[in-house]
């Protein structure tokens, strides 16, 4: 269970509250600059909120013992230093949380990077970097996944791959918080954020309401249909 409770940062987030329930995919939707990444960074303990709390299983991220076994996170970029190989990156990550070394090869296989394991991260394409980031997220086989804009910048084949990947994660019963500025994946719950405020929450049907589609509802809620 992910719980965001009245999280604020001056000028960025205003009393943002929502939950991502266990075993469900929660879409965290909003236009670019709405505050999705800021919320995710606060949830993961990277940034501090001015007020409010963000917890995972009732604990702040920074209090989780061996956090990689609880939450897997994908942020912009792979998180790997460009001069380090994919395998070396995953190995230090595994060591940091006392994960068995064999896990590194397992996750490389899971994201299809086995053949590129010895390549430096700086030579990876955007799609490969994203997959390396996913491999890191899966290293501790966490029940919770937090994915910030996983589709951003991917080519059609990459988007297709990512969709199939996320479907698999969902069917495995993982709790997924998926932030996106596009409605590109079927979700169980929706949270819509705009200008740092949550403007709608609920199941897709609830958020859609009287609109013709969820996308229409999203556009009218966020005033994003400006063209």
């Amino acid at each position: 269970m992910i719980s965001i409770d009245r999280v604020s940062r001056p000028g960025i987030l205003h009393e943002v509250s929502f939950e991502a329930r266990p075993g469900r995919v929660t879409g965290f939707l909003g236009p670019n600059g709405a505050g999705k990444t800021s919320t995710v960074r606060i949830l993961l303990g990277l940034d501090r909120p001015a007020t409010g709390t963000a917890t995972i299983n009732s604990q702040p991220y920074a209090s989780l013992p061996r956090p990689l076994t609880v939450v897997g996170a994908l942020l912009d970029g792979s998180g790997a230093h460009r001069a380090r190989t994919a395998r070396a990156h995953l190995r230090w990550l595994a060591a940091s949380n006392a994960l068995p070394r064999a896990r590194v090869d397992e996750v490389l296989e899971a994201v299809g990077l086995t053949a590129s394991a010895g390549k430096r991260a700086g030579r990876f394409s955007l799609g490969m970097s994203r997959r390396l980031g996913l491999a890191a997220a899966l290293l501790g086989d966490p029940p919770v996944l937090v994915l910030d804009e996983p589709f951003n910048g991917l080519d059609p084949a990459g988007i297709q791959w990512m969709r199939a990947f996320l479907s698999r994660c969902a069917t495995e019963g993982r709790t997924v918080l998926l932030s996106s500025h596009l409605l590109d994946f079927p979700v169980d719950d929706v949270v819509v954020i705009d200008h740092g405020r949550v403007v709608a929450r609920g199941t897709p049907a609830e958020v859609q309401g009287d609109h013709d589609s969820l996308e229409d509802a999203f556009l009218s809620l966020t005033g994003a249909a400006t063209w």
């Binding site: 960074r41 996170a73 998180g79 001069a83 190995r91 899971a110 991917l154 084949a157 791959w161 495995e172």
Partner: protein, 220 residues
Amino acid sequence: MTSAPPPSSSAGPARARPPARSATLTELGNAVHAELRKLGTLPSLRWAALLTLAATALLALAAHRAAPGTDPIRTALRWTQAGFLVFGVLAATHEYESGGQIRATLLAVPRRLGLAAAKAIALVAVVAVLAAPAGTPYLVSVALAGAGLGGILRNTVAAVAAGLTLYLVICPVILSRFPSSAAWLPDTALLEPGRGAAAAVLWPVALLVVAAVSLRRRNA
């Protein structure tokens, strides 16, 4: 992305090692292990170490020929200590270079003071081994000072410039103007064996404390 095999997110359970008596110590140990792996797999650090050791050996040889009787390694280290400074800086600043490794680091080890401690311990261990041939623990001091500056400034060029200015400009100038300040300067331990040990410890410790507080307070 096109050549990827069918995706599967899980490839078997990740088994944990049995919990140890002291969770905090185990956690610190894991973090140190990870930091040692980082230091061991970064090409720029390997080059910095290799070049520094080679330059020290060459300069020491030259110093021995030019002035037999003095300690040639110490003479060489007056200059090549900069290599150890750079090593320490890179150990800290490579986290902030492109790729954003610091986020991966903080996601894996979110308790920041523990992370700072693990980084310092790993650096001391690696530099102690590298500096063993030179036979002076002073090099650990200068590398840690570099790491402190790197952690505060989060930028390789800025931290190297600050460190070189401190050790190669400010300290010599202060020493020449105020010779009695020697005991309080960070590099006296190198220049005058037997003196300045406290300063060689206090300077890096002070810089590391500021770096640790900054890591704890600032957003990543």
